[in-house]
Amino acid sequence: MASQSSQGSKLSSQEQSALISDIVLYILSQDHTKYPIKRQDIVKNVLKTHGRHYKHIMNEAAHVLTEIFGMKLVEIEHSSNMKQYILVNNEQFLRDVSDLKWPEEVEAQQVLLMLLLSLIFMSGGVVKEEVMSSFLTRLGIMNGRKSHEYFGDVWKLLTVEFVRQMYVEYVRIPESNPPKYEFRWGHRAKGEVSRRELLNFVSLVYGCDPKNWVTQYQEVLQAESEKEKKREEDGK
């Protein structure tokens, strides 16, 4: 039995490259949503009956995404029986694209996201929801739950869309009753957003030297050296 199954599962190198390129195209085609990609969807839509080659093919696909496109396929722990991935771009590469003009609604979302991530970063990594909403209200971006003419339904963007896209985490504070929530950076933000740029942006707004924010500046340096280390490891 064992020999039969291993024989039946052998793929020609042509079949293998076709599957790899299909997975790469599938992952890229989903990227515009920024939602995590589920393992079961990859199997259902691309691999189909070749599910048992999953691991090998996925490794190769991840390799293609890095070597050709400069993007990293990151596995996200969701629960033990549900694997999912996000495609994390190089923070430097994202800057190139932003040199071209964005469509307006994307631009608005980008601005909002940067404000949100800045506030979390400057507050030491976590912000309570009531702090967030009063911050946005003070900036005139939020007015209760009314939709903003430029930003749209801001609270929904923050707590649903950005969460799903893994830019932020919106989690219940343990043992809070009635339940209270707080915001943190999500997986994608950690991989794609440059802390240095955020700090420069905030410093520009306040008209001071980025180094004056001692804690944040330390964090910038630390994050950069960690990324550098990782790059070196990957390069090996």
Binding site: S13, Y26, N45, H63, V64, I68, F69, G70, L100
Partner: protein, 276 residues
């Protein structure tokens, strides 16, 4: 398993990403970004201070194309039929089941696009009026209202497969290039092929005798020579209007293979007079 050549660097990945993001970038914008990326990659090289030239970008594009060929993707360069601006386009070279199934459009939306495409390709002028386009909903299954159709048209414009100008709907250079195989096979009897470059032409100069349609930018190159040829390249009929048709279009002086900013360097009038 995958082998990427050693001359495929971050610069190429970055350039590719820009095209994946935008699908269509003007040659000038592409070159501006290319220079910026090039300089950031090699900050202290002597070469970098002089800056890259368009040839460097074209070389980089050919390196990228070799690498992405296996994924059935290609960066093409093509010229707009009306504005004569040159663009880089990222196209899928094979209509794969993945790109079809997981496109941003539903089957019904694609059906609508096909109807618009068919109307445009079979039209006399290579475009249709926006009103006619919005009325197409009645010929489609399902009950699309006029405002649904309007929103959908907008969506295809955003996707850069269509564009609207002065009350007309046109195909973009991106859709013409990307859908060329489909258009050629489905509308063989309607589609015009420019005799000068052998590619699809939707709008251009039409010979009043044999009715051949030619790209304006092709006509421009064709008539540009010293003897100012103005006979139809298909039927040889004398076509003095040809010269007038391309006279007022802002072709760049170096359109054949250079970008406009490089053309000033090529200005050699000074040299010529010094010789005398």
């Amino acid at each position: 398993m995958l082998r990427v050549p050693s001359n495929y660097r971050d610069l190429h990945k970055r350039f590719l990403q820009i095209l994946m993001n935008r699908r269509m970038v003007s040659y000038e914008d592409a070159f501006r970004l290319f220079c910026k990326m090039y300089q950031s990659e090699e900050p202290d090289e002597e070469e970098a201070t002089a800056g890259p030239c368009p040839k460097d970008m074209e070389l980089a594009v050919s390196i990228i194309n070799k690498v992405i060929k296996g994924l059935n993707m290609e960066i093409r360069c093509a010229q707009d039929e009306i504005t004569p601006a040159k663009y880089y386009l990222l196209v899928n070279t094979v209509d794969s089941h993945i790109s079809r199934t997981f496109s941003k459009f539903s089957a019904a939306e694609l059906e609508f696009f096909k109807t618009v495409l068919s109307e445009i390709v079979t039209s006399e002028d290579g475009c249709i009026s926006s009103t006619a386009c919005l009325n197409l909903n009645s010929s489609l299954p399902g009950n699309m209202t006029k405002s649904d159709t309007e929103a959908l048209l907008e969506k295809f414009c955003k996707y850069q497969w269509l564009y609207q100008k002065d009350g007309k709907v046109h195909l973009t250079i991106l859709s013409i290039v990307e859908l060329e195989p489909l258009i050629l096979s489905a509308y063989e009897d309607y589609v015009n092929i420019c005799r000068l470059c052998k590619r699809i032409v939707m709008q251009g100069y039409r010979c009043d005798r044999c009715l051949a349609l030619l790209h304006l930018h092709c006509v421009h190159l064709y008539t540009k020579g010293v003897d100012r040829i103005h006979s139809c390249p298909v039927c040889s009929a004398d076509q003095p209007e040809m010269l007038a048709a391309v006279k007022n279009i802002p072709f760049h002086s170096g359109d054949d293979n250079r970008i406009p900013s490089a053309s000033s360097r090529e200005n050699k009038t000074g040299k010529g007079s010094a010789r005398k």
